[in-house]
């Protein structure tokens, strides 16, 4: 989608350098490719070897996309020993070795063919460490357009028209939030990007940060302009070192290029952005806890209202959105809010990025229009369970979500449908579970997570999750009684209704949803009314 008349080399190899492929040896592969190219006597002009971000199919890394005159071919799990063959194949695919043939991925695979790249359009295309490449791809053009051609109201109008809703979990209408912040009494305002992607099974934001950080900065800057903020923070979890590194680099480049700082692009708009690195606390994904953490405090949530849009960092109105939300903004402005709203369902517009993992053949990043059925995501795109056995359930929404049973896979994925099923969109992690997965064990897994991550401020979460985890232990060890079942139900309801923040309020969801759909597994673990034999 490049808008520039950039001269592209005739042939190029795009090597994924995001964390997943890195751990599978992408750096070694890239070095081997460069050596092989030099050995074959090609120049970088003839054959570019370009480090890029996520090429989606993370489970088959390291991934390399080969752009030649005949189109693009994708290779997965390429060993460095095949570097020479790969260089050769860029010229003539018929020369590809058997090993290389075997690593070739069919671009017509539903995994690729059924995706729509909107938020991820630059992922795997641009070099995440080069602002020039990002600019050549069109990044920052919408920021410039906003600054020169649009008023903040007009920007917010487009975001409202797009129907974009917060991609971090709650699904609050983004345009409305922006308005709330913008319309507060005059005074300082802040924009904050929540990049504390903590849901186990979620890695969408990580991929955007590692693959296309300038898009995020552009979205954040547009938001700052739209709400009248001159200071922003990106709060990234420390567990993502590569994302932190690339984001810092991108910030530095953007400052040097005059796209951040004072007098941006010759206008009076000024914006300073700082990276704040977390230190391992899931609860900091909760917005009031995140604000505490940015201010150097314990990440303890506080009751809302007041909402951060009214009173956030240092008491000033603060706009908080997550990475995917901000990353969707430049496209919305480029193509128009109506264009974005034409995708998706009545209540959930646009596309959503999912991180597909667990017992599924194709693991990786999937971007599809809202309203796509779960079945087409996990069975068609994901390819089902690797050994061909049936899917038992799909977990969405992380520790706040639930397990959706196989018989409901035809549900369209949108905020409301998932809530009705007792799960939630969450940030977009989707973990597929096969028949061997025990649901009380899944529930215990999440409850232990919540026990570990509870901040300890309010008693239902601090002490209730501990009791819930112990109750679940009794089911997993098949020494529960029917009375335990009643206790489990009652305590889940209590923790959900009375906890202070979203973490506690949603901690019982994995239990409630597995109780709802897989109650028989709990009942099977129940003995007759208990007599004492516990350790």
């Amino acid at each position: 989608m490049s808008s520039s008349a950039q001269t592209k080399p005739a042939r190029q190899l795009r090597c994924c350098g995001a964390s997943g492929c890195r751990s599978a040896g992408s750096e070694e592969l890239q070095a081997a490719l460069e050596a092989a190219r030099d050995a074959a006597g090609h120049t970088a002009q003839e054959l570019a070897i370009k480090p890029v971000g996520c090429l989606r199919l993370c489970g088959r890394g390291p991934l390399v996309a080969c752009d030649g005159p005949g189109g693009t071919t994708l290779y997965g799990a390429v060993p460095p020993t095949e570097a020479g063959a790969l260089i050769e194949a860029t010229r003539n695919y018929d020369h590809a070795s058997d090993t290389l043939q075997a690593s070739r991925l069919d671009p017509q695979l539903p995994f690729f063919a059924l995706q729509s790249s909107v938020v991820l359009e630059g992922c795997g295309q641009v070099d995440p460490e080069s602002i020039d490449d990002a600019i050549a791809f069109g990044t920052y053009s919408q920021l410039r357009r906003c600054l020169h051609e649009l008023t903040p109201e007009e920007v917010r109008e487009q975001v409202k028209r797009s129907g974009l809703r917060g991609r971090g979990g709650g699904g609050y209408p983004t345009g409305l939030k922006w308005d709330t912040v913008a319309l507060q009494p005059p005074g300082p305002r802040y924009v904050v990007c929540n990049a504390d992607e903590g849901d186990p099974g979620a890695f969408m934001d990580r991929s955007v940060l590692e693959s296309d950080p300038h898009r995020l900065l552009e979205g954040l800057a547009i938001a700052a302009y739209a709400v009248g903020a001159d200071r922003g923070y990106v709060y990234v979890r420390a567990e993502y070192p590569l994302a932190v590194e690339r984001l810092r680099k991108a910030l530095q480049q953007a400052r040097r290029a005059g796209l951040l700082g004072s007098g941006i692009d010759g206008t009076s708009f000024a914006l300073t952005i700082e990276v704040r690195v977390g230190a391992g606390a899931y609860v900091c994904g909760e917005e009031t806890a995140l604000l505490q953490s940015i201010q150097g405090q314990r990440g303890m949530p506080r009751p809302r209202p007041p909402y951060p849009a009214q009173s956030g960092l240092w008491g000033a109105p603060t706009l908080i959105n997550n990475v995917e939300t901000f990353a969707a903004v430049p496209v919305i402005l480029r193509e128009g809010g109506d264009w974005y709203a034409s995708m998706g369902t009545a209540g959930s517009k646009g596309t959503k990025v999912f991180a597909l993992s667990g017992a599924v053949t194709n693991t990786g990043l999937v971007e599809v229009p809202m309203g796509t059925t779960l079945r087409s995501v996990v069975e068609v795109i994901g390819g089902g369970v690797p050994d061909g056995t049936p899917i038992k359930a799909v977990q969405t929404g992380g520790p706040s979500g639930g397990c959706i049973p196989a018989e409901l896979l035809d549900t369209p994925v949108d905020y409301e449908s998932l809530l009705e099923l007792g799960s939630m969109m969450g940030s977009g992690g989707m973990v597929v579970m096969g028949e061997t997965t025990s649901m009380p064990e899944v529930a215990r897994h999440f409850m232990r997570f919540s026990v570990n991550e509870s901040c300890g401020k309010c008693v239902p979460c601090r002490a209730g999750t501990v009791q819930l985890a112990q109750l679940l232990e009794r089911f997993v060890e098949r020494r529960a009684s029917p009375a335990d079942m009643a206790k489990l139900d009652a305590l889940c309801r209590m923790v959900k209704a009375t906890s202070l923040c979203g973490l506690g309020q949603s901690a019982p969801n994995p239990v409630l949803s597995t109780l709802r759909y897989f109650r028989h597994e709990y009942e099977a673990a129940c003995r007759q009314p208990a007599l004492c034999d516990r350790p």
């Binding site: 009751p303 209202p305 026990v451 309010c458 239902p460 601090r462 009791q467 305590l491 209704a497």
Partner: protein, 239 residues
């Protein structure tokens, strides 16, 4: 001063604008259990005992931190709330080591009183028996973490009223505990002024005068409000 009106359990009350739901319940003569809240200290909404139902909202709201607004209708003693409150108190008992029989605050303990208030005659949840310690290093006072319910009144009174900030909360989740200084023995923390305000506000027998033995602790939980009024409004009621 402008006034707002709202209804508490069907009874209309008027309170000054900016007041909390807690003030509204008091105006209506309705008593709801409280543990973390103490007049004179910043409310934190942590103990969840003062949650109330607000008509038109599907979320329960803590009375202590929620601002009252015109026309609100709240309910403080629905079956659901009574049920949740009792469970919360059971969780408090189960997470610490509360042996009333030999506690310094026996008979004068807010946790004990709240248990009575919510009708808790036993805990359905097993007691956890956490490993906790007693710190008697301070010359005048001692802290028995076994009896601590993490209400953070001591943290707040020391920070907001005394200005010494000896106390804070360490660790997280069920490992949370009150710390003095860098998790040092209390007696070694220079910042402590020996003022005893933390003893005054502690709702249980966790922080106490060393000379007090079983059932001898007296509470002075009205002091923060008196001190605050004296400081902010120059009104002395603590004669």
């Amino acid at each position: 001063m402008s006034v707002i009106t709202l209804s508490v359990n069907g009874k209309d009350v008027a309170i000054p604008e900016g007041g909390s739901l807690l003030e509204a319940t008091r105006a209506a003569g309705v008593e709801i259990p409280l543990l973390c809240h103490l007049d004179g200290l910043e409310p934190v909404g942590a103990c969840r005992l003062c949650l109330v139902e607000v008509e038109g909202s599907n979320r329960l709201m803590p009375a202590c931190t929620t601002a009252a607004s015109e026309g609100m209708a709240i309910h403080t003693h629905t079956h659901q709330l009574l049920d949740y409150r009792r469970m919360a108190v059971e969780l408090f008992f189960a997470e610490g080591n509360h042996i009333c029989a030999f506690c310094v605050a026996n008979g004068n303990c807010e946790l004990q009183n709240v248990a009575v208030q919510v009708g808790m005659d036993h805990s359905r949840f097993p007691y956890q028996y956490p490993q906790r310690v007693v710190d008697a290093s301070h010359p005048l006072f001692a802290i028995d973490h076994n009896r601590c319910i993490l209400c953070t009144r001591c943290v707040r009174v020391c920070d907001e009223i005394e200005g010494a900030h000896v106390w804070d909360v360490g660790s997280r989740g069920s490992h949370c505990h009150i710390v003095a200084g860098l998790d040092q023995p209390w007696g070694e923390v220079d910042a402590c002024t020996n003022c005893g305000k933390c003893v005054d506000v502690c709702p249980t027998g966790a922080i106490f005068h060393k000379e007090d033995t079983t059932a001898e602790k007296l509470r002075h939980s009205d002091r923060p409000a008196l001190l605050k009024a004296a400081r902010d409004e120059h009104v002395w009621r603590n004669q």
